[in-house]
Every structure is written in C-alpha cells, then in structure tokens.
Symmetry: C2
Subunit: 110 residues, 2 copies
DNA sequence: TAAGCTTACCTTGACATTCTAGGTATCAAG
DNA sequence: CTTGATACCTAGAATGTCAAGGTAAGCTTA
C-alpha cells in the first residue's frame, strides 16, 4: 500500500503544523521533529511536504516567518501563528473531528 | 481545505467503500447513498470520485463487478468484495486507526 | 584539519486522488 | 410529456504529498 498517501492523509498536514505552533514559534525542522516525537514516528513529516506546506500557509496568512538562530546556533526560519491562523486551526480541528467521527460511524457498523 | 466542508480526505474513500460492501453486494449509487445516510451527509460521495475509485479497486482485485437490475428495476453494476478486498479492508482499517490516533495525540496536547 | 554527522532549508517533477462539470439513459409520477 | 430520481460514465483541473535530489553551516572526533 503504498507509496503515496499512506504516511499522511492529504489535508491533515496543515492542522498538525498549526497545532504545533500553538506551543510557540518554531522553525520547520523543529515542527517536523515535534510531530514525529509526539506520534512516536507514526506520522513522518517529509521535508518535501513540509516546506511547501509552510509556504502555502504563509501565503494564506495563517503563519508568519522570521529568520533567526536556532537553539543549536544555526540559521533558521521561525514561524508563528497569526490570528487568522488561530481561527483556521479551530476550523480545521472541528473539521477533522467531524470527519473522523463520520468515518468511525461507517467503520463501526456491525 | 476547500470550500465544501464535507470533502473527503484523500485515501479514505476506498476504506469506506470496502466496508460498505461487507453488508453484501451493492451498486455504486447505493454505496454512495449508504455512506451519506450513515454519516448524516457529513461525507458526501461525489460521483466523479466514486466511479473512478470503483475502477481502481476492481483493477486491484479488491472488488468484482457484475451487471444486474436494481431494486427499482434499473440496470446497475453490482460490486462485491473479493477475499483480497477483505484483507485490504482489514489493513486499511488498521491504518486508519493508527493514523487517527496519531493525529489526536497531536491535537490533544494542552 | 579533514571527514563525517546533524541540523536546517529549498526545489523539481512525478504521482495519486478528488472535484467540477459536464454527459447519457431509463423509469415512475404527475 | 415533462420532470425528478435513479444509475452510470468521463475529461480535465486542482490539490497535496512524496521521492530525490541539492546547499550550507556547525559540531565532533580522530
């Protein structure tokens, strides 16, 4: 099963990133590590998915970027939530729950 | 996510179809209606997604088709699960649960 | 001081899936 | 005989993810 779409369901990456940023500004690499750690590597965040997602979200005004220095003294771009991003997060969480409840309804039928 | 609050997450349509077919052979239109009814229209199955999905699944040997007559006396193509489809269903359910548990872990963090 | 590992970012192109928006045909009901 | 529901089908666009590359700088260790 598969090469594609097995690791992440399309559409969930943004909610994961937004939620991660509620803990405070983070750079991309750290966001990926946090999600992987939290899920015991069930969700693997590929960099080829991560960075394009960050650009999309920035373009849509959900997050803002600023260059800085990482904890390990490397150049890093720190993202933080905007208020639009916070609203988007609320919407996406609600959407996710509605959706997963609905899927469970189908899967749970005897 | 897109304008309709009800679109599917990529990768979930097949598990929904497979599960629906455990109730017995169904034609495409009936599969869509069942999923929509079960979820109170939270999950809307577009025909442009449904029929291509059925072909993919048939090509992969998860389901088999046979022309027949619907309850309302119309020509209809009835699909039924193969044993490969049953195995696929088990795998996809397991995958879905692992995935949704992982997403919840991220979203649930205080 | 060089090699190698890790951190950190970025991009291109392929790929799968879903949606939009059409279309056909049949049957039942008004 | 027109309308609405049933039932199938398809082309093309849009979207998002992944694979697979790449750059560069800091740390470690030999």
């Amino acid at each position: 099963m598969s090469k594609t779409t097995a690791d992440l369901l399309q559409g969930t990456l943004s909610v994961l990133i937004l939620k991660t940023l509620t803990w405070g500004p983070r750079h991309g690499y750290a966001i990926a590590r946090m999600i992987e750690d939290t899920t015991d590597d069930t969700l693997l965040i590929e960099e080829g998915s991560l960075y394009p997602a960050l650009y999309r979200m920035e373009r849509r005004g959900w997050i803002e970027a600023e260059w800085g220095t990482s904890e390990l003294n490397r150049k890093a771009k720190f993202y933080r939530l905007t208020s639009a991003g916070r609203a988007q997060l609320r919407a996406e969480i609600a959407q996710w729950r509605r959706f997963s409840v609905a899927v469970e309804k189908v899967l749970a039928t005897a």
